[in-house]
Symmetry: D2
Subunit: 427 residues, 4 copies
């Protein structure tokens, strides 16, 4: 299913007057700050966030899952869903595949489909946290860290295969997230588990093409509830440092202990040139996987403040960071939720672009704490929505993506097409 | 499947010499403290912990489940499993049913089976956190709190049915745990949701027989990740106070925010005569549902210290507290795990019975903090395992329940009997 | 020291053009939402936040204190400082005294001084968390909860005296914050401590004039690190319910365990008509006492969303809530920090006033989670600063309070007047 | 003040019969486990924990301090206090000095005094978290990280002086704990602050004698409440790795976010041969600095389980870890508290020595989670107090250190000697 471009332009036309007023006001404000609105607009418009293939269906918890309908039944339909999002916002121009859920049957057809929708293939993801049907050995007690060498080998081989699939589809990176860990004190030898993991990662790393990157994700708990092998940025950094120049750490916003200062971790990893990937979501308690910006929007702004500081400064020469949404949609329509998430990400990015960096550094040098806060909050409190809208309109996307999604009854049409009982692969 | 009693007595016989030495030593120590070991032994032997029917199979997380084999395929086999536990430790003499997973087909047969194994029926549990096949309306957005009166009615009716089943089977209480809540700011009107919940609970309460109790459970998050309708003891207490004398709060150890002082909550609820039920488990991060005593055994001891203070004091006339294990067994054999949990509970109970209460109150009155700590730690540091063993032996249970479970190859026998691919109902 | 009103009007004149453009834009937006900007402006302008007398000096931690200069040396100078704030923002029209730090020597003079600056006297605060010079008995082991009746009596008498001082100065409420608790398991008998506290509070309550209120504050830890006698809203509610109609709970934003949903507590307390007072600050880890809105501005908005729901609904007849800032200024100029705090509070209030309540309730009734979030975020993302500015200008306060504070070199003048080594009473 | 050795031997004589019975029982149990009780006894007896000079007085919080009496008035009296502890337990044979609080006036006299009491000088500690009287520049906005090079230099010079004092007194290491950080988003440039800190540490490192070590401590918050420059083990490890072979990380048990798995951090740092120092205390909420073992004794055991695994394995060749207590004594007699802490540390050590390591590794290799837990808990549940007592008695220390401290009325004697209003330097 695709959206006719005339539907979008009609929609945009209807909001033109209001939008022009809003845009003119924000342009004026930005210019008064001595910044160039066109430059900011360009950056905001260019910013693309990958959508993971598993986020297109209804998510669940251990207590159950309440599926809605019209979920994609196969890889092609997942790509089409991301195509819908991208048509609406021109900001979701990439899809991140998950193996074995998304093994293409026909690589060329799949590539062409993506290309026709303006989509690239972002990092591929391996899965050693579940047992697949007909899988030889079980990951119940771990994968890359397992005490049994044959299970480690099976997991390494799986990751190599994931890279091979990625090569064929045009990806340039692999994200390794491990659920490996332990539920009880005593269960695991921490040092051996970490050492096995490093050895396994080395084998996978050796399989990487020269122009690829490997992202090592960390997470403090769940689905293991006493320890995980890569619990924090420190361990991820230790591993990616030992692996080599193509290995990077990946930050998932939900993978931290309560009260962690994530923006500082971002700064430190960038300072070491080891920040490679980013998984966006939001959370109040644990890895809640909620819509980005739904709980702590100011934290997201502060993180972008660090990201921009690096990307427009000492990290300019680093490979671009891989941006992805990693959320679960238990009570919202997955596509609407993803539109909200992308909007929240780009709002934070735009706000952070408004920070007057020279003045900020000056207040910091003088330890003028009040003024430093004023500078950040002045940017954060600015209503930059019209900027995002303008970027969308210029790219032929919609004035109001969620609104148009509803007006066009896209979910109803998907349900009609795919049925109301479909369940997409995912969690 | 049942265990021949001669197997147990042979096993006990083999450890007799060692046990007698251990017992004699601990008797001596207890007497030197001016306490009566026989009295403590009696209490420890009498203490029974209910086993929930859903804890007999392998648990899982949203990321997957790794079933082991030999899981019970129906209610009768669940009762048999609890019977096995009880035969091994004579401390698990009750089973807690979960409706609709455990609706008896033949009440009399089921009752007789339980009776033959020395088991009682503890609190019955309702389930409005999942949609059942053929269920009319969905609980996706709540049950007793729902904005839609017809869904509230469906949930109320379900709870009434659960009570009716409970009456037929001989239970005397119902536990209401609600997953009701919201995932996003704005989603729910907090005040209306709480008010609806109170109204719904009132209807259920009115359906309670005179000699029944209702337990209102609280939990801060999961499966909802922004708010739950009954997030904390305060809300549970508010509800149970408004409901009436037959309503009580239920404390589940895993249902608290980080760093909560649970023992103080226990004391406060007992002070208000509103502590009705207790769900044992252990956790490091969230509602991890780990084996009792696996992470914070000292906290468990401190909780028992409060429980005993009440039960042997001002709460003597209150109805007995309903004790139950509520854990998930993702990487352990469920029966072995339950044996470990029961042991940990009774160890804490026994240690807390060793506290010299008069001396403790004296040090408190004098604010002699050092001495108060010494009294608690003296009890906690005492190795009371021989007391538990003696209580088991006197009740014809096993010297070493986990050891005997393994020696008799009970899991292997269950797998042979039931198959290695069975999956019990539960989470 | 006072600010000449011409200084303020000159300052405002300089920003007139910019302000008018901003105001006109926000008026337009608000009207398009179908709301009345004048009505919102009125409410924002009327909203007053009390300043506690102890917040006017540099705060510290157990590791040290780095005083700046020009701190008020006595009650009169504290009142003058609040007068300065109020002249700049016309939103800080009340001061909250702390006894014994702020016992007036001449009630009439002090009253007149306050009146001349447009200030009222908010809740008075007692102090039983420290020992004062020449105090008979020590609060080392508690005050209202103490095991020793004579210490409880001393603490009760102190609170009665605080009320008496408050009566003379024109306050109408007393805030009771207790540090009472314990540092070690075993130290305190939880139930006796709570019972003593209730008895003590009853004596104080009986001393309240008819038109007074008592606010019972809660806090989970610090300065006690194992338990506090009133750790959570549930315990505060329990006490205030037992005390009577003049007793209310008080919420301090920093007094919660990690991840607590504070807005829900606010809703529940308002639902029970027991929310009496509010202490604003912000925090990342514990009771950090940072500038309001500096860490979690969206949470503050969500809290105001609940407050307004009640105040403009079922709580309309309740006594007005007592608003106060309770922060510590370790690295900022205390007056600048307070200006930032007041601004952040009123921004959140104004944003929450923009929420379309009817639409919100409609989406809630329909469980349209996406739309509910859009409604809240639409309000939150609106830049309402010009509204606050307009309210200030109409009230003869400053366009930019912090900016004018600096332009007029008020701190330098205070240092000249009072010296650079003065240390105000406080923490 | 010193304790006559006859007082101790009389005391021990009185408990001889009971002790012999207890000892004989535990010996028997240990032998049945196939371990050598004499070997364990030797290790337990040899284990020494340093006492910091600032822990000998009453601690406080930002809300106040309730001093008891008889606190040491100078360095000599602090050394005498540690001498008292060591006489009572022969396990506190070292003192850790804090500069500038403890600058010796006469190095030789002080050395001789320590030697006469059997004490060594452990790591010296610098202080750049407070401003001292007559200090040139302020640390209000940081020290080693400061934006101002002259303040960094002052802080570096101070640390060099601390090393110089340490050399004269016979220390072999310096602990650097920094309070450097920020209270507000925007205040600090994270990357510059970390970079300045590294540069400053390098200068201090270059001043280290060849046989010295430097310990880099980390802490997530307090006294800064938004960020600290060295918040976690990852940052500490990053710094100590860059500094060189003489730099190590130091773990303070209270310096972690909620729910952190500290034992895993210990294992990882030992795996990298970068664990240098250890600060013992206990906590429930934050850096509560409570008596060791008072809140989470099982966690302490699990940490020792990792420590022993390393120390008796691959870390055998590493320099010995520097053990120190770092607690605050707000409501207990500091000396009694320290005796309780040392006892708790050595209990955990002794219990962890009882772990059957070969069997544990075997269960781990087989992923027999139940058995692994049984092995740890079997050790933990063993009552090893008689072993500690025997070690003390053999070393001419007291059967019951706290008991004897009270019987001999040591505090009363100290108060008589030093006065009841003395306040020792410290927090």
């Amino acid at each position: 299913m695709q959206i006719q471009s005339s539907k979008i332009s009609d929609h945009n036309q209807r909001h033109k007057t209001q939008h022009n007023a809003d845009l003119s006001y924000i342009y004026d404000r930005i210019e008064k700050k001595g910044l160039d609105p066109e430059e900011i607009l360009q950056k905001v418009g260019d910013f693309q966030v990958a959508i993971p293939s598993w986020a297109l269906g209804t998510g669940g918890t251990r207590f159950g899952r309440f599926p809605s309908g019209g979920e994609p039944r196969n890889l092609e339909e997942k790509i089409e869903d991301v195509g819908l999002l991208h048509a609406l916002n021109r900001s979701s121009g990439a899809i991140s595949l998950h193996i074995p859920w998304d093994i293409p049957k026909d690589y060329i057809a799949v590539s062409n489909l993506a290309k026709s929708l303006g989509l690239k293939f972002d990092a591929v993801n391996s899965n050693t946290f579940q047992d697949q049907l007909n899988q030889g050995l079980s990951y119940k007690f771990g994968s890359l860290c397992h005490t049994d060498a044959s299970i480690r080998k099976q997991a390494v081989d799986h990751n190599k295969e994931v890279i091979d699939h990625g090569i064929k589809i045009g990806s340039k990176s692999i994200t390794v997230w491990l659920s490996d860990g332990s539920n009880f004190p005593g269960q695991q030898n921490f040092r051996k588990a970490l050492s096995h993991t490093l050895d396994s990662l080395r084998e996978i790393y050796d399989h990487l093409p020269d122009d690829w990157q490997m992202f090592v994700e960390y997470k403090p708990f769940e689905p293991n509830f006493y320890s995980t092998v890569i619990p924090d940025w420190g361990t991820s950094f230790l591993l990616s440092s030992k692996l080599g120049l193509k290995a990077y750490s990946l930050v998932d916003l939900g993978h931290h202990l309560p009260n962690t200062n994530i923006e500082q971790i971002v700064a430190t990893l960038m300072g070491e040139h080891k920040l490679g990937g980013f998984h966006f979501n939001d959370s109040k308690f644990a890895d809640d996987d909620l819509t980005v910006g739904a709980i702590k929007p100011y934290q997201l702004f502060l993180i972008f403040n660090e990201l921009i500081y690096g990307m427009e400064g000492e990290n300019e020469g680093d490979p671009p960071i891989a941006w992805m949404i990693d959320a679960s949609h238990n009570v919202k329509d997955p596509l609407e939720d993803l539109l909200q998430s992308v909007e929240a990400i780009k709002l934070s990015y735009a706000q952070a672009l408004l920070v007057d960096r020279d003045k900020l550094e000056e207040t910091r040098e003088n330890n003028d704490v009040v003024a430093a806060q004023e500078i950040l909050q002045d940017a954060y409190r600015t209503d930059v929505r019209a900027l995002l809208t303008e970027a969308r309109i210029r790219n032929a996307a919609a004035y109001d993506p969620v609104g148009l999604f509803r007006t066009l009854k896209l979910r109803e049409r998907l349900m009609k097409e795919r049925g109301s009982k479909t369940i997409a692969t995912g969690l």
